[in-house]
Symmetry: C2
Subunit: 386 residues, 2 copies
């Protein structure tokens, strides 16, 4: 195992009705609150009303309308509001995009310049406002990690903002808030969680515990995504998906593993940077092609292990056939849950592939992937996805 | 899944040479340090000297000679030293006993009365000194959790002290510090880690992720304990054992599971409370007997799953035979790594069984076990161990 540092100071409050801890967790930090949310689904669900009821004696300012693939423009607006109104604590209620936007706002509020500087150079983040979250979509894991992904549509860039200062202080995880998530977003969320695991799992150096944790998270997400699609208010399924989301992106699944450059995320951020597609869908399209492209004599054993342990492929001596069968089954799973599995299905052609590949290798060390990748490799994977 | 709250604020520094972070993690809290350690093995390994070198500009007071199954008398001494010398931060270097003692000292230093009061009523812990740890034995998980176990030889009591205030602020986990651990203590440590998992895993309500994590920890400990016994400086094996130890007792393996009263720990604390035996050995002796005693129509499926998934028993329709085969293999594993598997082997007869059983059910809700247990059941399990 390799050396690592690890600390997740976020306090998780998991279960139905846990929103009632809100006064306690917010007022620890102050009473001047910026509430950050998206398109209004929290109003339909009564979460918005409940927040105002529970925090009746706080001064609540609101930033609403945060986009999927949250934009730097929203971050700028939010950071400015924090400065204008002496905000003491941020409350984000929504899915990963809302939480990511709120994290960038929390950092931007403590920074004198343009928040986009922080995205381009994460080391500039020296402090952040405390952040509490209420999760309404199981997908990104933002509720339990130290990262955010912010898009800049002017420059077609979608980049990560990562800093120890960005762990939420508290995250309220009530699985019943995800019962009304659409089938499409439920599927996309499952794909996102699975991808977080794949990015950490497809490496050459790991441990028995990390592998077991990763494999059981993927198994759980596959089983429970199907259950949640069949019965949207399946409490056990929604619960397992929510906690899987939190564990999958927090680093705990790969502590001590050899490093991974998160290949599919790096490439997907190009796709959604240019085309604003749903993140989890882009990841699902890319993953089987990335796996197939990465198969070689050094890596085939790892992919074959995955096929046997997670996709229930019967082991045999022909590791390539085992690995390929695992990839086929994964592809079939994505189709089964309704993911459009070709880029052309989501309106993307090969026009920007060269530029995307160039940008991807600039921002992620793809030469450290399980099969090292250069620009031409990235273009080839993208073409396989058409 | 059931509701839960979860937060582990401990910062982990894992890997060879990580002791070099010591000045940074200690001086965050102050420069008046109480160093707590055991019998002097940290001197043989050079850890003691390294601490003094790294903290040359701190004022270091020392409490040495902490016992296995740490005693309230040491806790009292340490708490008094903290008060006398205005200690700002405690540094514990050793195995779980040293860490547990230091936790109780940290709480005792902030309490006006006798520290034993805190053990008898954990709710009296309102504050504690910050604690940093350097681990030298993979076993208890104290380096990454909020509990301690303290013995009172005057009253034959060994009881848990649990409080959110007792998470270490930082834990330095250098697997190379465990290379010199004796075969017997390596085996006992492995048994302890496995037991922490069993206590959480043998319940009727769980999740796919929790089960996968628990199963892979047990698998890892079984494989890596044998490797470490064969080759004490096997870096990968010692690393996997060390991180398994931290994960196994931190609660993360059973979040949302139905509750468990930690049956074997409750009974083992009676054994070592009376006889001062090695904790992991007592647990190994008890575990297969507890499992066999708990087999019934409600529980057999759970034990059969364990047999198949962890002990590689071939599944068949006769769940009892599958479950029993799994228990037999676990028993054989304990014997293989050198654990004396009968109480008489460690000098214990049935003299105090009645009193032990009475005390065990008084302090742990054993009626909530996977097979609910009363006093007579505990006596029966103890007799099976003779």
């Amino acid at each position: 195992m390799q050396a690592y540092n690890f600390c997740t100071p976020t306090a998780v409050y998991f279960g139905k009705g846990k929103i009632n801890v809100l006064p306690e967790v917010i007022k620890k930090h102050g009473t001047r609150v910026l509430l950050v949310y998206g398109g209004g689904s929290i109003k339909k669900q009564g979460i918005y009303q409940k927040i105002h009821e529970l925090l009746a004696d706080c001064q609540i300012y609101e930033l609403q309308g945060v986009e999927p693939n949250p934009r730097i423009t929203s971050v700028r607006d939010g950071a400015q509001m924090c400065k204008d109104h002496n905000i003491e604590v941020i409350l984000a209620a929504g899915g990963g995009s809302v939480l990511d936007c709120a994290k960038a706002i929390a950092a931007g509020a403590k920074y004198d310049g343009d928040p986009w500087d922080l995205v381009l150079d994460n080391s500039l983040v020296k402090d952040a406002l405390p952040l509490c979250t209420i999760l309404t979509l199981s997908a990104t894991g933002s509720e339990f990690d130290w990262g955010a992904v912010i898009s800049n549509l002017e420059t077609n860039e979608k980049l990560a903002l990562i800093s120890d200062h960005l762990f939420p202080a508290a995250s309220i995880l009530d699985p019943s808030y995800t019962y009304s998530v659409s089938a499409y977003q439920t599927a996309a969320g499952g794909c996102d969680i699975m991808s977080h695991i794949f990015e950490q799992y497809f490496v050459l150096g790991s441990s028995i515990v990390n592998d077991g944790l990763c494999e059981s998270i993927v198994r759980s997400v596959m089983i429970n995504t199907k259950k949640a699609l069949e019965k949207p208010d399946d409490e056990q399924a929604r619960s397992e998906l929510m906690w899987a989301s939190s564990l999958a992106c927090n680093g705990i699944c790969s502590l001590g593993n050899t490093p991974s450059p998160w290949v599919c995320h790096a490439i997907e951020h190009e796709l959604s940077g240019y085309y604003d597609i749903t993140h989890g869908i882009g990841l699902a399209i890319l993953t089987p092609r990335f796996m197939r492209y990465s198969l070689n004599d050094s890596t085939v054993k790892r992919f074959a292990n995955f096929a046997v342990r997670v996709m229930d492929v019967t082991p045999n001596d022909d590791l390539y056939s085992v690995a390929n069968e695992g990839i086929d089954r994964l592809f079939a799973f994505y189709e089964e849950i309704g993911v459009p599995m070709h880029l052309k299905d989501v309106g993307i052609d090969d026009k920007h592939f060269e530029a995307m590949a160039e940008h991807a290798i600039k921002f992620a060390p793809l030469d450290m992937a399980i099969r090292p990748l250069d620009k031409d490799d990235v273009v080839a994977i993208l073409k396989d996805c058409l």
